[in-house]
């Protein structure tokens, strides 16, 4: 799969806080995982880019994800 195709199948989430929140919300609502681990630092990302990603995730994305009500497993 290409870089774009990997995003289309949601195996990688790349975007603004709004885009990342929307995509992660869809995945969490479908899978209902108690724990979402963010693999956030690949080799080509600079330290500054990683720090900004952490900042945006922490300030804007995670609070929105915490509002999702997980569902019991049938």
């Amino acid at each position: 799969m290409s870089y774009e195709e990997l995003q289309e199948v949601n195996n990688g989430i790349v975007g603004s806080p709004e885009t990342v929140t929307r995509k992660l919300r869809n995945i969490i609502e479908e899978l209902n995982p108690g724990y979402m681990r963010i693999y956030g630092n690949e080799g080509g990302i600079t330290h500054a880019e990683s720090m900004r990603s952490i900042e945006l995730l922490g300030q804007e994305v995670i609070p929105a994800l915490h509002e999702i009500q997980l569902q019991p497993y049938e």
């Binding site: 790349v14 108690g34 681990r37 720090m51 990603s53 497993y73």
Partner: protein, 313 residues
């Protein structure tokens, strides 16, 4: 039941100076890729950047930080996961610390029990103790017979829990491990012991093992439809085992990159997965292939052919 998702930060801590051109001359980027490419001065800078990211993730409100271990890997500079967990314990104040995990089949189980207990004391009970079987490379680097990995893993798992839960001294005579006197002085803060997680890329056999031991299963980024299948295996096995599973038993790992705008994020992401960087789309695809081609217990094969629908983005 756990009703809110917890979000963990994770980095492989790649040695980000290796290019595809460096690796393509060799049969493998792991065992046969010479470590003469490693520069300790560069590693010093990278390690400290990664540690700064840990502290910042804690400050920014992540619920946890996950760490791992690989050997002979330019894309993971962590051959000793408990050393990294000790750093996390000291540079953070609030996050849970998920060790995913210790390759217990290739290590001394008593030392594993002692080190994890130390970490739980350092962090005042923030440790989640993941146990992994490791890749084939971990077995080879560890000097064990790869075919014995599972039985060594299971015996080490039982012995580590015994170290945490039974008063010492005691004697242990196992198939792989024998000790005349076991008496670990340091014990974990969390009682009876830290939570135990079991990760997997996509083997349903691993899911069955986790569920039959009531350990949460942490998927490492398989495609969504296969992950749904694995979750259904966990639920079925849990019910056969005699407990009701919930979100507290299941986790998922995804690559996520956030930037101020979609355009900026795509620019960074495309560059970071490009042909001249440490982690490429090729490696990404390799992980997916490993995830979806892994062997499955025969009793689950029928459902494998009819995976659930994927989430839409």
């Amino acid at each position: 039941m756990k009703d809110t998702v917890e979000v963990f930060w994770f980095s492989e801590q790649p040695y980000s100076y290796i290019t595809d051109q460096d690796v393509e001359k060799y049969d493998s980027g792991r065992l046969w890729f010479p470590n003469s490419h490693f520069d300790p001065e560069k590693a010093h800078v990278l390690y400290n950047e990664y540690h700064e990211q840990y502290a910042f993730a804690d400050e920014m409100g992540f619920d946890g930080i996950m760490t791992n271990e690989h050997h002979a890997s330019y894309w993971c500079m962590k051959p000793a996961v408990n050393l990294d967990a000790a750093v996390i314990a000291k540079v953070t104040k609030n996050v849970k610390i998920a060790i995913l995990g210790n390759v217990i089949a290739v290590n001394d189980p008593i030392r594993m029990a002692e080190e994890i207990a130390m970490l739980d004391c350092y962090s005042n009970g923030r440790i989640i103790s993941g146990f992994v079987r490791g890749t084939a490379v971990e077995s080879l680097v560890g000097g064990i017979i790869p075919a014995e990995n599972r039985s060594r893993f299971e015996e080490a798992h039982d012995l580590i829990i015994k170290c945490w839960t039974e008063p010492g001294p005691f004697r242990f005579e196992g198939k792989h491990y024998q000790y005349r006197a076991i008496n670990p002085w340091v014990k974990p803060v969390q009682q009876p012991h830290p939570p135990i997680w079991f990760p997997g890329l996509s083997s349903a056999e691993s899911v069955v093992w986790a569920a039959s031991h009531q350990h949460p299963y942490m998927n490492l980024g398989s495609l969504l439809d296969h992950t749904q299948f694995l979750k259904s295996v966990y639920i079925d096995t849990a019910k056969e085992t005699g407990f009701q599973p919930g979100p507290e038993h299941f986790g998922y790992l995804l690559r996520v990159l956030c930037a101020d705008t979609d355009e900026k994020a795509q620019e960074i992401g495309r560059h970071s997965c490009g042909p001249k960087t440490t982690v490429t789309v090729d490696r990404w695809n390799t992980m997916i292939r490993q995830g979806t081609n892994h062997g499955r217990p025969s009793r689950f094969s029928a459902r494998c052919r009819a995976p659930a629908a994927s989430a839409s983005g």
